[in-house]
């Protein structure tokens, strides 16, 4: 069965790139535009991984990570956050909230795939 990856970003173009790249690589992709929508879309269904932006309206990336880590189903799944160079504090905060790793924007599709492969095996 294809592994399912949830990508959360308020920028539709980023979602498009992430989604396209992952689908090309054979993953099933679910998209959400912010943390709140992400939680709605997951809603207890099994996921293998999450790629999330940090700065988003409604529920930001940190909040989403915290929520997911409290959820018994998603307690152990890899969560990758998308950050920018200037967001060191955010990165630490995300790490503390339970993010598995991060990808610094701008990134190339190959970099994304490398990280996904790294944490998903």
């Amino acid at each position: 069965m294809n592994k399912t990856i949830l990508t959360v970003d308020d920028s539709s173009s980023i979602r498009q790139v992430v989604g396209f790249t992952l689908q090309e690589a054979g993953y099933t992709v679910v998209e959400a535009c912010d943390g709140l929508e992400a939680l709605k879309k997951i809603n207890g269904s099994p996921l293998h991984m999450v790629v999330t932006d940090l700065n988003m309206p409604n529920l930001d990336g940190i909040g989403l990570i915290k929520k997911l880590r409290l959820d018994p189903i998603h307690k152990f799944i890899p969560i990758i956050m998308l950050t920018t160079e200037s967001q060191n504090e955010k990165k630490m905060e995300g790490k503390a909230a339970g993010a598995t790793g991060w990808i610094v924007k701008p990134f190339k599709p190959e970099q994304l795939l490398a990280v996904v492969k790294k944490v998903l095996g």
């Binding site: 630490m92 924007k105 998903l120």
Partner: protein
């Protein structure tokens, strides 16, 4: 490359973000404390910065960086929102817009301006930094760079080396979604490894928490990839895990692997003998599977609820959809074809005796019209998006001219066809610019006239039938009618002692070149380029009217059709040819006998209830041969307040017409705006009556007014 495919999507998104940003900034200027607005600005900048780099707009990413930093400070309450910052951000927004590739031909990117904006935002940040003592600033080192510094100097990285790695993950490593086994596999891919698992951390079964990791490893790795590659494997490892990497010249994993065959044997040699015998039982696999079992259990219990909710959410998620305009145009085209075909079907069915066919035809007709309406409806956009763009224009212009102007908008939800909306932009800008430049007085001047210092420009839109009415009113100086009249007479556009009505006088402002006269522009000012506005609006099959009261203000009304794809037309016949006249401007139809024409010595004028109205003989104009009937008809149309007749052989009746363009070869044909296919399959040309009248009307009306 994949990225290129997405560049278009990014440009689209960024364009939207930028216009949203502009709107937010203008709102923020009014409510400077509004946290939501500040957050929105920051997020917009952040998204632009983050995405632009991904799609090859490095210039944008670099440029946005400093401005984003300013808003980060504002967001944290460390800087107030000032007019300076808003001005700066608005200027930056414009630069970004150009960087995206918009208007590039018109406005080449001004690098000096870019540098200025960057300098200014840097100054703001510096100014802030100077006021904050250094100890408050917490500089967090980049974690991925930290281990690099303690590594072996770079020149030693080349060549194959052996490293001993001590890896003791934090017990909570699973909580961060990491799997240490994957990391070990990854190390294995770097080169030859021999790995020793230490199992001495495992507690008694009773005390064991299956969600924790009790293992640690010693790995000997021989690789040519250097320490950077090894560090990269552990890049996501938190600070609470223990990782030591040492280059070891005495060990060589290649040798070890050759001498000892396989993992178990290495373990037997190197691991703690107490655990070595039955280490396989304490391998972390059981731990893992236990966790998985638990997860499965929870999964199955919640599956039922999930199934129910999933169906629900799928409906929730897709409330709007982005479709390219080409696809929409294609749809509208197809629907137009269908409408045409359907009209033929009705005609054929009406000649048939088969009642079943007639019934089906009626059904098809009903559905076709419904389909047509909804297809056209998809293209409708609220005019509010256009309105909000003008806030910026008004702000900039009034700043520039030293005037105080407020823009209010009404009926922003009124919908117009996308094409109409796009083409409306320039004329509206023109009108608003005129209003600010010439209409609204200086604040001091306004005070002298007992007006508030703040001038108002009101935009309003409303729908009436198949038309949308847009009004742009200002409370400025108004137009001096007498000046315009005098000017028109001097230019021989109106006869002396004219009894022209107000609207006829104001229509003079639309005559090309009329407004260039200094005397008029300095007093009332209107008419600068109004002919351009008029032409643009007429191209949309709309019309423009001016109303004005001296010292009170001016209102310019634009009447536009809801859509360009379908018009109501009047079907007329000349000889064998059928033509369509847009019904929106038709006022009435009259009959004319050959004897009537002879009475006025063949001049093209008719007397309608005492008014003299000139007309154009279409048969003559288009050189249509054939016998001229004794009784002919004149369609009287109102074009910009002037009545003009169009003489045809016969008026057939009203006809809803699907507009088709004539194609490139005929695009310069004057007097014809398109064509349509009639129910019987024949083609009828649609007359561009404004164009037809344009050539003759003014001269004609002058001749007539002078003759009377």
């Amino acid at each position: 490359m994949i990225i290129d495919n997405h560049q278009k999507a990014f440009i689209e998104e960024a364009t939207e973000l930028l216009s949203e940003l502009e709107q937010t900034l203008l709102d923020l200027e009014v409510n400077r404390e509004d946290k939501d607005l500040i957050g929105k600005v920051f997020r917009a900048l952040h998204t632009i910065k983050g995405s632009s780099g991904m799609f090859g707009f490095d210039e944008m990413a670099h440029f946005t960086h400093d401005i984003e930093n300013v808003y980060d400070l504002i967001r944290n309450g460390e800087l107030p929102v000032t007019k300076e910052i808003i001005d700066l951000t608005l200027a930056a927004r414009d630069q970004l817009y150009i960087m995206l590739g918009h208007d590039k031909s018109n406005f080449p990117l001004n690098e000096k301006r870019t540098a200025e904006i960057l300098d200014a935002s840097k100054k703001i940040i510096e100014g802030y930094n100077n006021t904050v003592s250094m100890k408050q600033k917490t500089i967090i080192p980049e974690p991925k760079k930290a281990p690099e510094s303690k590594c072996i100097p770079e020149q030693e990285l080349k060549g194959i080396r052996t490293y001993s790695i001590h890896f003791k993950p934090s017990q909570n490593i699973f909580m961060a979604g990491s799997n240490p086994l994957l990391l070990l596999n990854e190390l294995n891919e770097l080169g030859k490894t021999s790995c020793t698992a230490h199992l001495d951390g495992i507690p008694d079964l009773a005390q064991m928490n299956p969600e924790l990791c009790y293992f640690y490893w010693d790995i000997i790795l021989t690789t040519g990839r250097g320490t950077d590659a090894i560090n990269d494997v552990f890049i996501f490892l938190g600070d609470d895990s223990n990782l030591q990497i040492q280059e070891n010249e005495n060990l060589d994993a290649t040798l070890i692997n050759e001498n000892l065959t396989g993992f178990e044997e290495i373990l037997k040699v190197t691991a703690n003998p107490a655990y070595s015998e039955d280490e396989s039982h304490y391998d972390d696999e059981p731990v893992k599977s236990k966790t998985e079992n638990k997860v499965d259990e929870i999964k199955s219990s919640s599956k039922k609820i999930k199934d129910n909710q999933e169906a629900h959410h799928e409906i929730d998620s897709a409330t709007s959809l982005r479709v390219s305009t080409e696809k929409l145009d294609e749809l509208v085209n197809l629907v137009s074809e269908l409408v045409t075909i359907q009209a033929r079907l009705v005609q054929i069915a009406s000649q048939s005796d088969n009642s079943a066919i007639v019934a089906i035809t009626e059904e098809v007709e009903r559905i076709t019209w419904a389909l047509r309406d909804s297809a056209l409806n998809i293209r409708m956009l609220p005019i509010g998006t256009t309105f909000s763009k003008f806030k910026r224009l008004v702000r900039d212009l009034s700043n520039e001219l030293g005037k105080e102007v407020e823009l209010t908008a009404e009926g922003a939800e009124t919908e117009l066809d996308k094409t109409v909306l796009e083409k409306l932009n320039d004329p509206l800008i023109h009108i608003i610019r005129n209003s600010i430049d010439h209409g609204i007085e200086d604040p001091d001047e306004r005070e002298r006239c007992n007006k508030t210092r703040l001038g108002t420009i009101k935009l309003s839109a409303s729908q009436s039938g198949g038309n949308v009415l847009i009004k742009i009113s200002d409370d400025g100086a108004g137009i001096d009618k007498d000046q315009v009249k005098a000017k028109a007479i001097a230019n021989k556009l109106l006869p002396e002692n004219t009894d022209a009505t107000d609207s006829e006088i104001y229509s003079m402002l639309f005559v090309p070149g009329f407004s260039t006269a200094k005397k008029v522009t300095s007093v009332s000012g209107r008419g600068v380029g109004m002919d351009v506005v008029k032409r643009a609006i007429e191209a949309l099959r709309g019309n423009v009217e001016i109303e004005s009261t001296l010292k009170k203000g001016t209102t310019i009304s634009l009447k536009l059709p809801l859509t360009l794809a379908i018009i109501d037309g009047l079907l007329v016949k000349i000889g064998e040819e059928t033509f369509v006249i847009p019904l929106s401007s038709v006022e009435e139809c009259i009959e004319l006998m050959q004897s009537d024409i002879e009475k006025v010595n063949g001049r093209h004028i008719v007397n309608i209830r005492g008014d003299i109205v000139p007309y154009i003989d279409i048969r003559e104009r288009f050189v249509i041969r054939g016998t001229v009937p004794q009784i002919r008809q004149v369609v009287i149309a109102g074009i910009n307040g002037v009545r003009i007749g169009f003489m045809v052989d016969k008026v057939i009746g009203q006809h809803q017409t699907v507009l088709k363009t004539l194609g490139k070869a005929y695009k310069n044909v004057e007097g014809v705006s398109g064509a349509t296919i009639l129910g019987d399959g024949s083609v009828a040309l649609i007359l561009d009556i404004a164009k037809l009248a344009d050539k003759e009307s003014y001269e004609e009306s002058l001749v007539i007014s002078q003759a009377v």
